[in-house]
Amino acid sequence: MCYWATPKHRRELAQLSCLSDDPYKASHTAKEPQTEMAEQDCRGEKKQRCKAGTSRYFNKRQGARNLPLLHPRDSVLLRIDSEPTWRGPATVRGESITQWSYEVSGGDRVEMRQNRRHLQLLPSTAEPRAKASFDPPPEQTPPAPESSPGGLTIEYSSSFDIRHIGYTRGYQEELANMAKKRKAEKSRDKLKTSSKNLTVAQTEEDEDDGGLFKADDTVISASEDEGGSDDERKHRKLLDAIGSLGGKKRRKLAERSEASAQISEFSVSAEGAGEKITLGDLLGTLEQTSVITKTKKQLKNLHNRRDTLELPLSRQQTEKIQREVAYGKTSKEVSSWQGVVVRNQKADQLVFPLNQEPSGPKRVEQVVAGWKAQTPLELEIFNLLHMNKQPVHDPVLTPAEEASLKAMSLDEAKIRRAELQKARALQSYYEAKAKRDKKIKSKKYHKVLKKAKRKEFLKEFEEMRKMDPTAALEELRKMEMARMEERMSLKHQNSGKWARSRAIMAKYDNEARKAMQQQLEVNKTLTQKLAVPSESEDEERPEEAAVALPDFVNEAQPADVTNPWMMGKLTAEPPEPAESSDTELPAGGVQQQENPEDATEEVEEVIDEEEVLLREFENRRKLRQTENGERDMVPVMPVEREEIVTERAASEVVEISDDDEDEVDEDEVSEFKSLFQNLAEKEQEAVMEVKTTINAEGEDGEEPALLDEGLTRLRTLEDLDHLSQDVSIELDEPATQSTATPDLEETTIPQPDKKKNQKKNMIDCNEVLTKEAKVIKIPMAPTAIEEEEENEEEQKMIIKEAFAGDDVISDFLKDKRKQEEAGNPKVVNLTLPGWGEWGGLGLKTSRHKRKRFRVKADPPPPRRDNNLPSVIISEKRNSSIAVHQVSQLPFPFEKPEQFESCMRTPIGNTWNTQRTVQKLTAPKVITQMGAIIEPIAKEDFIKGKTLTTTGKQPDISLSAGKGQATKRGSKRPQKKGHSKRSQLKRMKSKPK
């Protein structure tokens, strides 16, 4: 039991405690000891205040009350916390340095320091002080112990409070706080024990606070002695008066004198009946588990909690929060439409009404469900059916059928079917081809085939050597093995039966001899040691490749076969025997001779990309050789070019080429024509001759790369805009206009070709130009060329005759020169004759002056047609065209090229097939006539999102396909109500 434990209150004090509401009583009582302390110890106020503050906070934390202060010479009892009883009296010597501790002497020990907690004031000392407190000088007023039961203190104070008001002011505030707290405690205690107090207060004293209460008793008895019973009455009156002063009328507690609380009327002991039941008590009966103790603890904590609940928020604030939450929720919900909205925005086509019924045949049940008997006959039949309980809504489809319906939608099935078809087609192609190959008995063919395979293998090996050296090594070893085997065997040694027979025949038969030769050659190649292919080998390789070309493609690359077969990309270049006859056969003629035959055999074969590249390299090499070679080889170049591009060997040119008999074989050249054409398109090498440029222009008009380059060289923004338009408009009439687009001529010339260009400039212009006039008129389609060839010849002759006397070319050159001169900035002469010197007839201005006033403009940028002998490029802005040009790049386009290409693609049916036109001109929004378009429905789009993800199209159908509607219909869950409604709609709505 500690001192700060709550003491029991006396009965009469219960009322009094209410009075302690009055601030100054409380403050006054608390005040006294402190003032006295100040007098006695002469300590500064500050220290006192500090002490008071500390104690206050300590109390606040611990829920403790201050013990009364002790004074020197007070006799006290001692006890340490652990000890059970109080030890004999001791005397207080004075306050110790530390707070709330005193120096005590006596008892067992002579002198010691004790905490106030361990000291108890003996009643014998408390009594005289209580009496002394009535003495007038306030300084000597004994301390009304703060922690003594409040009722008592108040009793003192109520009798002489007014006197103290004057000097209590100083501490009033902080003491008021303390008093308040005490009051709160008191009232609490009172509640707890009120019923007990009523009966017990006067008679019983708790053992623990015995000392104190004894003291209290003495105090009371002292006052009683003074005033007697009369006094007591007066006192009560006074208290009443004071109580009524407090303003509010306090309800007096009813006093009960019977001991009914203790002794029940029903002979059952009602011990503790008046006590308040705490929450913890309720748990008492339960078993003692850790959980329960925990709960008890929690409950206790809860009980002890003194902090108040927070005020509810104001209405405005609550509403604001509600609004925000609601808005967040709603906007999140609405956001689920984001995907649909974006998809619809991006969709190529929107078809309204959105949830159209599928146009295809409906399942019987659907029809039946929506159908109602209307005519009397129908009604009758329906009635009959109903009477007989005929199943109307029987599942018409078997479960299997239904499952299959569910499993695959129509368009998935279509796709699947198409795939299967394609696979089937490919397979049959393969088979047919294999059969064909098998049937071919030609040895040559097989030989070539083998060779091609070998070639291919070598190429692969070459690659492998770069990519994967270890694997290459392995391969090499294998090859070596093969070689060794070959060497060991007699297979190609001309020692077999066949070889021997041949050997006999060889004397007389040229063929046989050749065959033998070949055998040997094969042997040689097979037994040859494999070396890294070097430059020297290069010469042979391309030729072989050329031979091998048509055969192996399909065999070697089965994977690639699919595309060309299905795409129908066939080589369309039949060889031209007429030309090959003109020229001589080069060495290795055996293979060359085979070539045309093979080619005819496999016209439909595809030229591989790699093959093209190979050829390209070879041709380049040849070109290089010719250039590096003698000077008289130079004219060969243009010849080749012409042939390549125009696909026609002009007789005159061929004559030139006939002169030089070298490794350039015409046969090959003719064969490579198509390849070269590709080459020319890709690399833009054939720029020099106007003919070729124009030709290329016609072919490459579609390619944006060309235009791109042209645009980069433009000088001003304006030009850029205009030119981008020029291209699209003038592509069709390029050569005829003097304002031919300059950018078309501008093509990147690869660095190595630079030298070539220089050389070509030396070629006689006339020759080139005469050719040009013809070539322009040639349409690009290769099929038409051959037919027109003869016509061209004639035409040429006619033109030659007609313009026999005219020197068109020199006229053109003159014209060009004139233009160039006009383009050059003129020198402006600003000299004024006679200014600063004599002027007049016959007098010349001085040279110095002329020089000074002559203004020279900067030379213009180099003309674009500088290097083009036969072209005049006008760089003036053409105002007549400007009217038709778009001044700035329209919005959705990011680059001029995009816009140009968009402009350039025709969409009409003159240029496109019907299907393409339909696709190209499909309108963005399709509405059905007379159909009501309902707002988008959540059921169809938000929940059905997973259903529609299978296709790439957005939910709203994209293309104009009629099958779309059926597809969507099949995928989307159908609402019965809706179908009815749409029927209704149809009935009601009439066309306007």
Binding site: W337, V341, W911, T921, T927
Partner: protein
């Protein structure tokens, strides 16, 4: 030996019936069809010219009202039916195909402030200046029957607008506050008010059907969720919005017609800045309606014109006006996306084509193909100055023309001044305020 013979399959060139079109074998070789771009350009130019030649949007005028037409309502299931309410309390039902009035009823005393049809099309609601909400049957009363509303609700204050839920028997009215009513009950099931005492219009969201929005006289637009106890959010603009309309295909977009001559398209998730400002009118915009496809909307203005705006463009693609048409008070876009209906001050309802040059009636497949081709050509070459010049040309009444010019000048002057101020003040002290930001005052949470 293979012998090659010329052979012809009659299937390739003989038509099945005489009604078929002759099959024309075509060679698509581009070299045979040169000048494709110029040729198509010419076709596009011609198509554009023809479009302007055929642009005759006005179809009919429905007269019969004896006062200005104040509100209209579309029939949800019948395209040919239109309801209109006038300023003298009369409601008329029109048959658009026959262009005649089929039924007239005196619905209210004073203005018919608003009307809406039930989603199933069996009845319609009207609110009027006499503080009543009335529900009427769509069918005309049979012979001898009296014209009487199905239900009448007497309110405490004037209702200024009404709109019906798109799927349930619930409707919303606005006046002093926004009320949500159950059709079966005579008192509102929910009432929203948020410090404003008068609303001019309320609209249900056709997609997210529990959402509503209303325009209030304190220049604000307030959003509601029918299921919540409180409004959702409020955006306050510089001037009052007269009406608003939700996009029927995009749940979160709505457009409001403002007094400051503009229309604003908002995303309801971002109210602080309008998505697009549509400006072309030269006077207050009174009403608007979205096309059922949600790609365009039509607006009616006090400046006596009707304009059609693409939903994502700041300027109109079309302007309709006639000499006789006065202030256009209400406008509707027909549910088949083909027609516009405008009700104006001078008691007439006018029927317009939504696409001015469109040919009405059934199109033959080839006709349709040609039309599609022409449309595509026009679109393809629309950037070319000559095509554009023709396609963009519109005739405007002089007053509107001069007014718009004036507005342009004013705007330019303001812009210039702002620029000058910015130029002559400390960098950053005069922030650049975009056109979109200018019109929204605050967003109240």
């Amino acid at each position: 030996m293979k012998v090659k013979v010329l052979c012809r399959n009659p299937d390739d060139y003989v038509r099945e019936t005489t009604k078929d079109i002759q099959r024309v074998p075509r060679n698509y070789d581009p070299s045979l069809h040169p000048f494709e771009v110029p040729r198509e350009f010419t076709r596009a130019l011609n198509a554009t010219k023809l479009e302007r030649v055929f642009a005759k949007p006005f179809l009919a005028s429905l007269d019969g009202h004896r006062d200005g037409v104040n509100c209209m309502a579309k029939h949800p299931t019948s395209l040919s039916t239109l309801l209109s309410g006038s300023c003298d309390g009369e409601v008329k039902m029109w048959n658009l195909t026959k262009r005649e009035c089929t039924r007239t009823l005196q619905a209210h005393e004073g203005f018919v402030r608003g009307m809406c049809t039930r989603f199933c099309g069996t009845s319609f609601f009207t609110v009027g200046d006499d503080k009543t909400i009335k529900q009427w049957k769509m069918e005309a009363p049979s012979y001898g029957e009296e014209e009487e509303p199905l239900t009448t609700i007497l309110g405490k204050a004037v209702y200024t607008g009404i709109d019906h839920h798109w799927k349930e028997g619930i409707f919303a009215t606005c006046g002093q506050q926004v009320d949500i009513w159950d059709e079966q009950k005579s008192s509102p099931i929910r009432t929203f008010s948020w410090g404003v005492d008068s609303f001019s219009s309320v609209r249900f969201n056709p997609v997210e059907t529990h959402l509503l929005a209303s325009c209030a006289s304190d220049r604000s637009i307030v959003l509601y969720d029918m299921r919540e106890a409180t409004p959702l959010k409020k955006v306050i603009m510089n001037l009052r919005s007269n009406t608003l309309c939700w996009n029927p295909m995009e749940a979160f977009h709505f457009t409001c017609a403002n007094e400051d001559y503009n229309l604003y398209t908002f995303d309801m998730r971002r109210l602080d800045i309008p998505k697009i400002v549509h400006m072309d009118h030269v006077s207050a915009v009174l009403d608007l309606d979205y096309s059922p496809t949600g790609t365009e909307f039509v607006s009616a203005s006090f400046d006596k014109t009707v304009r059609i705006f693409p939903k994502d463009h700041g300027h109109s693609r079309e302007v309709y006006h006639t000499k006789r048409m006065q202030h256009v008070i209400c406008v509707k876009w027909s549910s088949d996306n083909k027609y516009l209906l405008t009700g104006s001050d001078e008691m007439n309802i006018r029927l317009w084509k939504a696409n001015a040059s469109e040919k009405l009636g059934v199109l033959a497949p080839r006709e349709r193909a040609a039309m599609n081709y022409n449309d595509k050509l026009k679109e393809k070459f629309k950037h070319h100055p000559q095509v554009r010049r023709i396609a963009r040309h519109r005739h405007l009444p002089k007053t509107i023309f001069s007014q718009s010019k004036e507005l342009r000048v004013m705007k330019e002057a303001r812009r210039r001044k702002e620029r000058n101020v910015r130029k002559h003040s400390k960098p950053g002290s005069v922030p650049v305020v975009t056109e979109k930001q200018k019109h929204v005052l605050t967003v109240v949470k």
